[in-house]
């Protein structure tokens, strides 16, 4: 084998993006296969698709110079090839190895990014050994080659790949009829027609090969010969495909003894087995169907010539480029705000024709900007379903490892979220699901003993709720024993013996740093990542996670996320001499506060709002800053809330609503609680953006601690 070329960095990134997709596909399909295999009824097409995934990956990795990835893909491909060729049977052990291949390949692809491939060498070598151990040379097949006696037209058989030959042989071995179905389609829409025909035939058999051939009029039509294996006789299949543009041009059946029972064939079909490739003989038949089609359908439009080039309608874009674009849009929005405020000033300074015209132009600009913003935003949106595949694999893997029986029910896969949020939410979500499977769902024995069905259910649902996307992970497992949590928290000194905590507050302890509830740390959940990290990761994308549980009946995690982070509407407030922005998504209402409403409970300020007690926070106290200027006589309370929790932020003034672009503060300020970033107000002023979620959790934490 020759040395692979050194690809450019860009090309390598292309490779990675595609390779990741292929491996993900591979995993998803393996999951399907494993389910089918459990019922001992698997689809050869599916297995072949899996083989093709491994095969593509091998070729890709080889071309781009990632030898180790290519090696592992190669071994996996070999195992899959043996499987599809019937040389190895699909045991649970083989399934296990295939899943391990996916894991390994995923790890290797990651490693190519940070150049740590070498660290995986021994793992890759061991994996290859494991695969090789499965490959025992098969018993030589006594093959009297009934294939030859079948007398298939030579042009059909000569282009068969080894695999297709194997499928043909399988069909013959199962004493099925072998048919050749000929069909003619209009060039403009042949894939639809062919797809329908193939689907129809697949209901009654297998399409072994699809061979395109020259149509009567190659400018407008294209013909296909489908090699079909089916239990149906020629007459039965004829009836099935009746009404379509297809006809049967060959039918035969080879008996296992090697005798050929040929069905009657049209006299004009010389199908000598040893005839040289002469496809023209077949092409004479479908003249009739051709003319029928021509009558029914208008001639191909002349402008179709132009369409030849633009076939693929999707573009793969680096998310960084979209970020840049989003930034520009953000700056534009700010520039617009500046114009609008100048217009306002002009108008205030005197009734001026120019100010009105400028105002109109600014309005127009605002509308267009809105469209642009929405357009760019739409590009960033991807369905949450992309995460579902990963989660499905994880659930299958863990349930296999732990001998649990679990149905994963997925809802709302089409719910859309910002690509970056989807990326950032993947790990926390995975952790929650791992927890649900690992700690939530009980073993089948325990479930039966508790009078539940043997199979546990994990429900993963996403839906949009206003400006938020809600993701729920619910299990019907054992639920969380709050008494255990209390004990553990006591042990760890997180709470005191006499602390009076509600059930809710006890549950909150799970999110306390370093808190791990598992009695035994297993390989699955016990990876040193606590729920506090999960909460922080979710908070990092301005999201919130909440937990409900019922002992004996299961738990539900609710993650609430903003749809996008790029541009948000914010309430601009003035407090203690400074200006802050509060994302409007977390603002519930604003009320005027008069001093006599404030009561003090355990040294903390609260007000009563519609019969509920609302704790108040003064920002200057929270951030421990010096107040600039005296507090106004009349202050405001901005009620913020995330999930079920409410808090009142006391501010001096409400300035207004504005679109802001949040910029992160960088590593240096990462530990700063309560601030999610900074934003430019458009008038050269930079302000801090408050993170209500983290202010709330910070306060809850200090309450519990004290």
């Amino acid at each position: 084998m020759s040395k692979a070329p050194a690809p450019s960095r860009n090309a390598a990134l292309d490779f990675l993006a595609e390779a990741e997709e292929v491996v993900e596909d591979l995993g998803t399909r393996l999951g399907e296969l494993s389910e089918m295999a459990e019922k001992d009824n698997w689809d050869p097409d599916l297995l072949n698709a899996i083989f093709r995934d491994a095969h593509s990956l091998k070729g890709l990795a080889g071309m781009f110079g990632f030898a180790m990835v290519s090696e592992v893909a190669h071994h996996t491909e070999t195992l899959l090839d043996w499987l599809r060729m019937g040389k190895v049977s699909l045991t649970s052990q083989v399934m296990e190895i295939l899943f391990a291949s996916v894991e390994l390949l995923t790890a290797l692809l990651r490693a190519t990014l940070d150049d740590t491939l070498e660290q995986h060498r021994s793992e890759a070598e061991n994996h290859a050994k494991r695969i090789n151990a499965c490959l025992n040379p098969p018993a030589a097949k006594e093959n009297s080659s009934p294939l030859q006696q079948l007398g298939l037209p030579a042009n059909m058989t000569s282009s068969l790949t080894d695999y297709e030959e194997h499928r043909l042989q399988e069909n013959i071995d199962k004493a099925r009829f072998i048919h050749v179905v000929h069909a003619s389609f209009e060039l403009a829409s042949f894939d639809e027609g062919l797809g329908e025909l193939t689907a129809t035939i697949k209901e009654h058999g297998e399409v072994i090969s699809t061979l395109p051939s020259m149509g009567e009029n190659m400018e407008t039509h294209i013909d296909f010969d489908l090699l079909v294996g089916s239990k149906c006789t020629k007459e039965q299949l004829d009836a099935i495909i009746a009404g379509s543009a297809a006809s049967i041009t060959f039918s035969g059946k080879a008996t296992t003894a090697g005798e050929t029972a040929r069905e009657t064939l049209p006299a004009d079909k010389p199908s000598l087995p040893d005839a040289p490739a002469a496809p023209a003989t077949l092409e004479q038949q479908p003249l009739q169907t051709d003319t029928i089609l021509n009558d029914k359908t208008p001639k191909a439009a002349p402008d179709e010539l132009i369409s030849a080039k633009s076939i693929s309608s999707t573009v793969r874009v680096d998310i960084g480029k979209l970020d840049e674009l989003m930034n520009i849009v953000g700056e534009l929005v700010l520039a617009h705000s500046t114009i609008a405020s100048i217009t306002g000033k002009m108008r205030a300074e005197g009734f001026s024709r120019t100010a009105i015209d400028l105002g109109k132009a600014a309005k127009d600009l605002e509308r267009r900007l809105g469209d642009l913003q929405k357009g760019v935003m739409d590009i960033r949106m991807i369905p949450v379903g992309q995460l579902y595949d990963k989660m499905t694999r994880i659930v299958r893997k863990i349930s296999r490892e732990q001998g649990k029986k679990i149905d994963l029910k997925l809802f709302g896969a089409e719910t859309e979220l910002d690509k970056l949020i989807v990326e950032d939410i993947a790990d926390p979500l995975m952790h929650i699901i791992r927890n649900a499977v690992d700690h939530g769902i009980e073993t089948p024995e325990k479930r039966l003993a508790a009078g539940k069905s043997e199979r546990g259910t994990v429900r993963l649902a996403s839906y949009q709720k206003g400006n938020h996307v809600v993701i729920e992970v619910e299990d019907d497992g054992g639920g969380i024993d709050t008494e255990k949590i209390r004990c553990k928290a006591l042990q760890k000194g997180l709470i005191q013996e006499n602390s009076q905590l509600s059930e809710r507050e006890i549950l909150e302890l799970i999110f306390h740093p370093g808190f791990s509830t598992a009695e035994t740390v297993t390989a699955v959940s016990g990876r040193g990542v606590g729920m506090d990290v999960v909460r922080n990761n979710i908070a990092a994308v301005s999201g919130m996670v909440d937990l409900e549980t019922r002992l004996g009946y299961g738990s539900r995690f609710t993650i609430v996320l903003p749809i996008t982070l790029a541009i948000i509407k914010a309430l601009i407030v003035f407090c203690a001499g400074r200006i802050y922005a509060i994302p409007i998504t977390s603002v519930i209402e604003s009320i005027i506060l008069s001093a006599d409403q404030i009561r003090t409970v355990e040294g903390k300020e609260v007000i009563s709002l519609r019969e509920q007690t609302l704790p108040l926070v003064r920002l200057e106290n929270f951030f421990r800053i010096e107040r600039i200027g005296k507090p106004a006589d009349e202050q405001y309370v901005v009620v913020v809330g995330v999930a079920e929790k409410r808090l009142g932020l006391v501010v001096d003034d409400l300035i207004g609503q504005q679109d802001i672009v949040i910029k992160t503060l960088g590593e240096a300020f990462k530990t700063l609680k309560g601030i999610s970033g900074a934003a430019d107000l458009g008038d050269q002023r930079t302000i801090l953006v408050l993170d209500s979620g983290s202010i709330i959790s910070e306060l809850m934490r200090s309450n519990q601690g004290g």
Binding site: L187, P212, A308
Partner: protein, 122 residues
């Protein structure tokens, strides 16, 4: 002078990109891409193709079926077809050549190997 047209058929986008960028070093070529056999079948009757590069292992219609179609059609009979495949056994190569492939290039290959072959036909 009208530039010569090359059609690259491969179901891997990264692979196509690599092939195209290699071919582009040759200068004035029009390079068309197809992600599978179906797309190739659409392009063939509409564009004059001077050289066809195809992968074998693709869904629905594989490279061998595509090649067989091309060779059975008098219009395309003379079109050079280069198979670029990971399948490198002598049996595979024999099959490709017997169906009328002009060349058979096994992946992975050096860009120079591809260019050498392509130069022969254009």
């Amino acid at each position: 002078m009208k530039p010569l047209t090359v059609l690259v058929v491969d179901d891997s986008a990264a692979m196509r990109t690599l092939l195209v960028s290699t071919l582009e070093t040759l200068g004035s070529l029009e390079i068309l891409q197809a992600a599978n056999g179906f797309e190739a079948l659409r392009i063939l009757p509409r564009q004059e193709i001077n050289l066809l590069l195809t992968d074998i292992n693709m869904p629905d219609i594989n490279g061998l079926e595509l090649l067989s179609f091309v060779r059975s059609n008098p219009v395309y009979k003379e079109m050079p077809v280069v198979i670029i495949s990971t399948e490198g056994s002598s049996k595979d190569i024999e099959k490709g050549m017997s169906l009328g492939a002009s060349e058979y290039l096994v992946k992975p290959f050096m860009p120079e190997q591809l260019l050498e072959i392509v130069r022969k036909y254009i």
